[in-house]
């Protein structure tokens, strides 16, 4: 019963997150002081494209349709929702006409998910493991040194870490390539190794910052749990150090860490977007950025909508994994 209730509330929240997120996206262009169609036209014109008067009119009509600005606000809203949830079509890309936006996003999404998932999982596991050790052995000199390092690393935003890595490892010591370049075709070894080679720096910038946070929070949690009576009792009972650390301290400390991970996905995603742009990594972030530069409204709406859905879905998945860590929800 407990479990069913847990799943249902999470699912309701999931639907609401997407609905409210998309609604905000719907209203932003409509409540801007500038006319979005004219703004986009202006952007296209400043890119130097010369257009005849009729072409401008045709472009204006296309854009009005792309923004869904025909009809009353209610009609527009339902049309917008229908396009996203029923037909799942964002139309053709305006800058890479006539490639459908869906196809472009389909190409970029695996890159973003791959980068985000691998770096978040590495940071979470590594940070929590080291934080656990540091909290359990909080009097060790290495634990305290580690905490000080984490304090200095965690508050720095992703893009600053990314910039520092770019300065250090691309410009001063050119170990990594200036431009993102992939060689070979998907299944080959050459392809995989070039993907890893090109992704090390973007992933590192996300791992370093995340790592700092998980070490700090895990250390605080595990050092306070280590002083609880049941841990003391386990020691008196003669349980081994390793067993106390995993079965007693870790089991309890890991729960809030899972909850926080679910809450942080949106923040991590924000950071990853800018990291991608700085490195030219071919994911959703870079694609969103190019869409802005090229005034490709269809593509922009597509990437932003998919971003919201992707973040909401990742959060849901982590939430649904929670019972794996917490037997109280699983067994009742």
């Amino acid at each position: 019963m407990q479990f069913a209730k847990f799943v249902v509330t999470r699912l309701i929240a999931y639907v609401l997150v997407i609905w409210i997120g998309i609604t905000v996206v719907f209203f932003v262009p409509r409540f801007m002081p500038t006319d979005p169609v004219e703004a986009m036209l202006g952007r296209i014109m400043t890119r130097g494209a010369y257009m005849e008067a009729e072409q401008v009119e045709a472009m204006r009509a296309t854009l009005t349709q792309a923004f869904g600005l025909e009809g009353t606000l209610m009609e527009q809203y339902f049309g917008f929702m229908q396009r996203i949830f029923v037909t799942r079509e964002f139309g053709p890309s305006l800058s890479m006409f006539p490639t459908p936006v869906n196809e472009l996003i389909g190409r970029a999404l695996p890159w973003t998910l791959g980068l985000l998932l691998s770096s978040t999982i590495i940071a979470w596991i590594l940070g929590n493991a080291i934080g656990l050790l540091a909290g359990y052995r909080s009097r060790w000199l290495s634990s305290r040194t580690l905490e000080i390092i984490a304090i200095f690393v965690y508050p720095i935003p992703y893009y600053i870490t990314a910039l520092i890595l770019i300065i250090l490892f691309i410009h001063i010591n050119p170990i990594f390539p200036l431009f993102f370049s992939i060689r070979g075709d998907p299944p080959s070894l050459e392809f995989i190794s070039s993907v890893i080679y090109n992704s090390i720096l973007p992933a590192a910038s996300i791992v370093i910052v995340g790592f700092g946070w998980w070490v700090l929070s895990m250390k605080a949690l595990s050092s306070s749990i280590s002083e609880e009576d049941f841990v003391y009792f386990a020691k008196l009972k003669g349980a081994g150090e390793g067993r106390i650390m995993t079965a007693y301290v870790l089991r309890n400390a890991i729960l809030p860490q899972v909850t926080v991970l679910a809450l942080q996905i949106g923040t991590i995603f924000n950071g990853a977007l800018i990291t991608e742009i700085l490195f030219g990594y071919p994911g959703l972030g870079t694609m969103t950025y190019n869409a802005v530069l090229q005034a490709d409204y269809n593509l922009l709406m597509g990437t932003i909508t998919i971003s919201i859905i992707a973040v909401a879905t990742s959060t849901l998945i982590i939430d649904l994994l929670y019972p794996v860590f917490d037997p109280r929800i699983r067994q009742r």
Binding site: I151, I156, Y158
Partner: protein
């Protein structure tokens, strides 16, 4: 004797430096540091130009102080309103309970999950780099009130059952009086810690948007400074003073704010530990 926390001390000292840099120095500036071609371009640091000059002929030092002022302003403005709204929403949710609680909690959870950056990018792209700092701040407030609200709600829930609140209630105090006299002092230091932390988050988000050229390009913030440096190939040209100054300033400022917020939080936790345990 209470020992002073080293985190707070270090944090406050660095903060003082930034307040001088961003709060006082911009008014003493001999020029509008945003103007282009006022000085020879790409000078190394010298007595006349502390941090050299940019490729656009601006004095890096005065530009930095000007940018710090704007970034601090955004941070404080967003943090003030986000904390204010968050604290009241959280207290309302915790004390009223029922459907008010459910609605507030739901909205808070939704705004925590929805990623703010894509929405800011959409907005800025429509405003073509003319998004005012005020508009960006308002969006940031919208995405930052839920964190204090969540925390405040759980504090309110636990406090509803606390001894001193019941004592006040039985001695005839009304709800507003209880809030003002018993609860606000109790949560004040917590709200301060959250305020400082939100200053950090707001500056970080605005700078992030600015680094990719989507904040207000007409104003100088720490992020737009990095953007112009990147646009003018400060990296390839190895003009480390130009790109390095805002990067270094952001790092030091954020470490300072983080030290302050954790310092305040742990000090109030200690005090509570001695107080009503």
């Amino acid at each position: 004797m209470r020992r002073t926390s080293p985190r707070l001390t270090i944090g406050l000292i660095i903060l003082a430096v930034f307040i001088i840099l961003g709060g006082i120095l911009p008014f003493l500036s001999p020029e509008d540091p945003r103007d282009w071609i006022r000085h020879p371009r790409n000078l190394p640091p010298s007595a006349e130009h502390f941090l050299g000059t940019t490729n656009l002929g601006q004095d890096t030092f005065w530009l930095l102080s000007y940018a710090t002022q704007n970034s601090l302003f955004i941070g404080v403005f967003v943090a003030f309103f986000a904390t204010l709204i968050g604290v009241f929403a959280g207290l309302a949710a915790g004390f009223l309970g029922g459907s008010a609680d459910r609605v507030i909690t739901l909205f808070a959870d939704v705004f925590i999950v929805v990623p703010s950056l894509p929405i800011l990018i959409l907005m800025s792209s429509l405003l073509q780099g003319r998004a005012s700092l005020l508009l960006i701040s308002i969006i940031l407030i919208l995405f930052n009130w839920p964190w204090p609200a969540r925390q405040m709600r759980s504090i309110a829930l636990s406090m509803r059952e606390r001894q001193f609140v019941n004592t006040a209630r039985f001695s005839g105090s009304g709800t507003v009086q209880i809030l003002a006299e018993e609860i606000v002092p109790h949560i004040f230091s917590w709200a301060m810690a959250n305020f400082v932390n939100t200053v950090l988050v707001a500056i970080a988000t605005e700078s992030g948007l600015a680094v990719i050229g989507l904040s207000s390009l007409e104003e100088a913030t720490l992020g737009t400074m990095i953007y112009w440096a990147l646009q003018h190939q400060a990296l390839l040209g190895q003009r480390w003073w130009w790109i390095g100054s805002p990067v270094f300033a952001i790092i030091v400022l954020f470490i300072c704010l983080f030290l302050l917020s954790t310092g305040i939080a742990s000090r109030s936790a200690e005090r509570r530990g001695h107080g009503d345990a």
